[in-house]
Amino acid sequence: MKRLSLLPFLLLCACTEPIVMDPLEEMPVVVSCVLSRDGGWYEEHPEEVRDYTPPAQYLDLYYAQRPSESVRRVISDAAVQVTGPGGPYDFVWNGSRYESAFLPKFDREYKLMIKTADGKELSSSMVFPPDVRLRRYRLIEHASMNNFGNTFAGYYYLQRHYDVSTMGCQWENFRKECFMWIRALENGVPVDKICTTHRGVDNFNVRRDVWSDCAVIDRYAEQFNTFMEMEKAIYVDPELWTRFSNAWLSSPLHDKFLRIYHQAEYDSGLDKPWDNYVANDFGDNQPAEPRDLFVLGADFNPSAKTHSYVDVDTGEKVEYEVPWYQGDCYEVRFMSEAYDKYLKAMVDAHAIHGYELSPVYSTKTVYSNIEGGLGCFGGEWITTINISTGY
């Protein structure tokens, strides 16, 4: 078919009218369920926590919409059950969606079974993410000229989460395959630029700029000398610092998030012993093997943080600066493999490919792990790492 626009004279005669192209197929059922738990002290032994309330788990169930339909047809009379450790768990309709309450166990398989009133059966299964979390080993701060640190990079490594039932804390480096989606949040809002040296990072959302383009990096050498941490780095291992600066400063920035596939035998390529360095969190000495380390960094608001309020008495606008260490953190989500695939497919489908008709040209449906339907049954564990240099 030739394009209409190729014969302008005929435009006078041509007409364009909306057409609703409803295929005749029956609409499939869509399932959306992500079992979730977030970071906290009660993970493994909730019974030790007084008045523990297991987190709510939600499931949405509805028919896909035809092009001519504008209202979603929700299914409210289905039998929904998840089986797994401590289960089975029945989901109950709460007026808008299905709800249950339980704490998913790490590294365990969960199965979803749905049976609708009209006899449709859907099923799925997934393995909840493993019990690892990201720990910061060393924080490197890149300060602005006015001494308000806005841009941070730090060495991080994966570690098994600690067992609160043990006196004190036992740190254990733990190598497991996992899928991580990482965002840098400033007061809950994702920052635009985030970066990593992890070799498993997905570069599909790489920006045009690099770490050294961040506004506060331009005179890093002078700034860094003002901080003891970097003096130590330079003193102890000038070669490490050279390798760090050359590689890190030219690292590409990603837009708003990182998707990382971490293999169990991850090797960062670093080989210097770092026994002299300690993790600042909790004041414990915990060495980490260099091969486990990777750098994670984000640009938390390149300009000086200023906020303002209106003084109720004078009616004047007052500006103040928020201490930089408040409200900045990394949100790290460990995901089941199916949810990772599904989310990647979603992001791909809605990224801008450069020409307006890409969603039209593509005739592929996004990934789904629902047998007999569409959507996703997945799991995620949400953790956060606060940005702090300890003062």
């Binding site: 014969l7 009218e17 197929e25 092009p67 989500r333 490919h353 020409y355 008709l357 039209v360 040209y361």
Partner: protein, 679 residues
């Protein structure tokens, strides 16, 4: 009434010593030659109503049994379930690859330069291969060796001039034609009248023309040498209000040298043809998307040199024989490109256009034996042995058997085993319609077709009936599997996104026509079912072919209503009903809310070609007034295309702002006028 057809096997000419005075010439009668072959002449098509007012052989072909039309008004046609790329149009044995003007509304060559056209759909003769569906054989007219004549005409979108003249009386003649479209000027003239809100074009330019010339030199009474040149161009450039720019161009440049001479003493003829054939097309789009300038391009270039020697002679008393050798050397350079200039967040890698030259050589030995005649019984056996440097040997065979049982009843059967070397890619993104012609390779073998047809026919005076059935299998069909990757692929990547599959088609064909007298009419009906199967597409399940039109009905009639010494008036009408074609559309959608994209609508697809468009219905009427008996005869053809003003789909367009599909109907009720004057 006696039926005395004067059909002549135009593919097998025997030399004749011209003892007749120059004023008396043999002629070929148009009409159905066999159930699989039809002769067409300009008188058959000159009275038809067409969108442009120009006579067009393809528009006539689209009304025959077994033929499905493409989009409204276009020159695309699909024969017995094959692809458009399976059809070949040749001019004196040389393929024309870019066959249309004006976005498919008319053919690229002026029909006035054609003396006779033959349309074959089965039982193919041996001299032409590299096809899998049909062959429109165009034979050009020679210029007059003794009389000067010229003609000029003007229609909706074309201005034409023709001249036929002796350059050296009885020795050297010239037949030439030129057509130019003033579409670009027409646009500029009416631009000020158009509502800027209704039309999104900021500026536009177009260049459309074709040039033709044939020199014929009579060496002696039996030998001749001819030199033909043909060039056509379509070029369009549009600047849209949105800032994007669309451009499209395609062109042909063909040179043909032919030598005809007698062959030995048995009354045979030898024809030697050397030709050079250039075809190029490109379609580009510059779009601004999210701070990124995307310069997208699809291009296809083909340069083909051919040498063909063909002998037609008698083999014994009753058998006619044809044999020959043809060598084609073709240079392909297809590709796509995407060049990005971005200030946005996603620095996609540009994929610029680079040379992607493939050389392809095909040698063909062909032969044919034929006995009998179409009005009695006939047998034709044809074969080709091909060798292609990329894909190796590929034999072909065709058979046509025609038996008249009784005076008014006969049986015809054909069988074909065909190989087509050049692939035309399907599946190119919606809105990108230029064909990308690519060569065969060890991975993309020549398309192969196996088809069989059997039918009964009856001739009762001027009335002809036929009813038949066909079955066709196709293999090594190619399909561009992921349209979104067309521009992201590296230049060589077009091969990485091609799927290979098969197709089947079966159908019933009915034809009734009255072919002579003051009034003629024709009714043609086809029922068919055409599928495709690609193991890696559509979950490996069968899906309908895009132009699988289940029911096709065409009814046409023409009549001479006035015949005077100085004025003849003929009227004609055509009604067509065709089942809608298939499109791939979103089956549905759902809403997903996640921490990365937020709330988004996600579409899903169930199968390829899952939606049948509304039926295609059209009624045309026309009148031809011939002012004869004057010093300068004139003709006026007035027609109305699509009298019912039905909004048949020409194209689909997606409006991303409103998330809505729109059907574009290019040809509502459309008057056409063509005036010509002869000198």
């Amino acid at each position: 009434m006696l039926f005395l057809p004067a059909f002549q096997a135009v593919s097998q000419e025997l030399p004749r010593t011209d003892t007749l005075p120059p004023a008396i010439k043999e002629d070929v009668r148009s009409g159905q030659k066999t159930l699989s072959e039809r002769i067409l002449k300009i008188s058959d098509i000159s009275v038809m109503a067409t969108p442009t007012g120009e006579a067009d052989f393809v528009k006539f072909v689209q009304t025959l049994p077994g033929v499905a039309s493409g989009s409204d008004g276009s020159s695309s046609y699909y024969v017995r379930g094959g692809n458009m790329g399976g059809n070949v149009q040749t001019l004196d044995g040389v393929p024309i690859y870019g066959t249309s003007h004006l976005v498919g509304l008319t053919s690229a060559y002026p029909p006035e330069v054609v003396s006779v056209a033959e349309f074959q759909v089965g039982g193919f003769s041996s001299e032409e291969g590299n096809l899998s569906s049909s062959h429109i054989k165009l034979r050009s007219k020679d210029g007059s060796f003794d009389t000067f004549s010229a003609k000029g005409d003007v229609s909706n979108f074309l201005l034409g001039g023709y001249v036929s003249t002796p350059l050296i009386e009885n020795r050297l003649s010239l037949n030439a034609a030129v057509r130019v479209s003033p579409a670009g000027l027409e646009y500029k003239a009416i631009k000020g009248l158009m509502d800027p809100e209704a039309v999104s074009i900021k500026d536009a330019d177009a260049a459309i023309y074709d040039l033709y010339a044939k020199l014929k030199y009579r060496v002696d009474a039996n030998r001749s040498l001819s030199l033909t040149a043909f060039h056509s161009l379509d070029k369009y450039n549009f600047l849209m209000d949105s800032g994007s720019e669309d451009k499209m161009t395609w062109n042909n440049a063909i040179l043909i040298a032919q030598y005809d001479a007698p062959w030995r003493k048995k009354g045979g003829t030898l024809g030697v043809t050397a030709s050079f054939n250039h075809y190029g097309n490109s379609q580009g789009m510059i779009k601004q998307m999210d701070k990124t300038s995307n310069d997208l391009l699809i291009r296809s270039l083909l340069d083909e040199t051919m040498l063909h020697a063909c002998v037609n002679t008698m083999a014994g008393r009753k058998w006619k024989a044809q044999y020959g050798l043809k060598v084609r050397a073709a240079r392909f350079n297809p590709g796509s490109a995407r060049v990005l200039k971005s200030t946005g967040l996603f620095p996609k890698t540009s994929s610029p256009l680079v040379k992607n030259v493939h050389w392809n050589v095909t040698g063909t030995l062909h032969g044919q034996l034929e006995r009998g005649s179409t009005e009695r019984s006939m047998l034709r056996l044809a074969g080709r042995l091909n060798y292609n440097n990329a894909s190796g040997f590929a034999p072909e065979a065709s058979v046509l058997l025609r038996i008249r049982f009784f005076k008014y009843l006969g049986l015809e059967a054909t069988g074909d085993y065909l190989s087509q070397f050049y692939h035309t890619l399907e599946g190119i993104p919606l809105g990108w319609s230029l064909d990308m012609i690519v060569p065969p390779s060890k991975r993309f073998r020549p398309e192969q077709t196996r088809q069989a047809y059997a039918g009964l026919y009856s001739d009762a005076g001027n009335h002809h009936f036929s009813a038949g059935a066909y079955y066709k299998e196709m293999s090594n069909l190619v399909y561009f599997s992921d349209a979104t990757k067309l521009f992201d692929s590296a230049i060589a990547g077009w091969e990485e996104n091609i799927e290979v599959g098969t197709g089947t088609s079966r159908g019933l064909e009915f034809l009734y026509e009255k072919t002579s007298g003051l009034a003629t009419w024709r009714f043609a009906y086809t029922w068919s079912k055409t599928d495709r199967l690609f193991p890696n597409l559509n979950k490996g399940e069968i899906f309908p072919a895009k132009y699988d039109r289940e029911h096709i009905f065409n009814a046409s009639a023409s009549a001479r209503v006035l015949s005077r010494e100085r004025l003849n008036v003929s009227i004609a009408t055509l009604f067509t009903y065709q089942s809608g074609h298939w499109e791939t559309v979103t089956a549905g959608s759902w809403w997903d809310d996640n921490f990365i994209t937020g709330l988004v609508e996600q579409k899903f697809y169930t199968s390829l070609n899952n939606y049948r468009m509304p039926p295609y219905i059209r009624w045309d009427i026309s009148a031809l007034m011939e002012f004869t008996g004057r010093k300068h005869p004139q003709a006026l053809n007035i027609g109305v295309y699509n009298v019912l003003n039905r909004h048949n789909p020409f194209a689909l367009s997606y409006d991303p702002d409103n998330d809505q599909w729109k059907q574009i109907s290019l040809l509502p009720i459309m008057p056409s006028v063509k005036y010509s004057i002869s000198f």
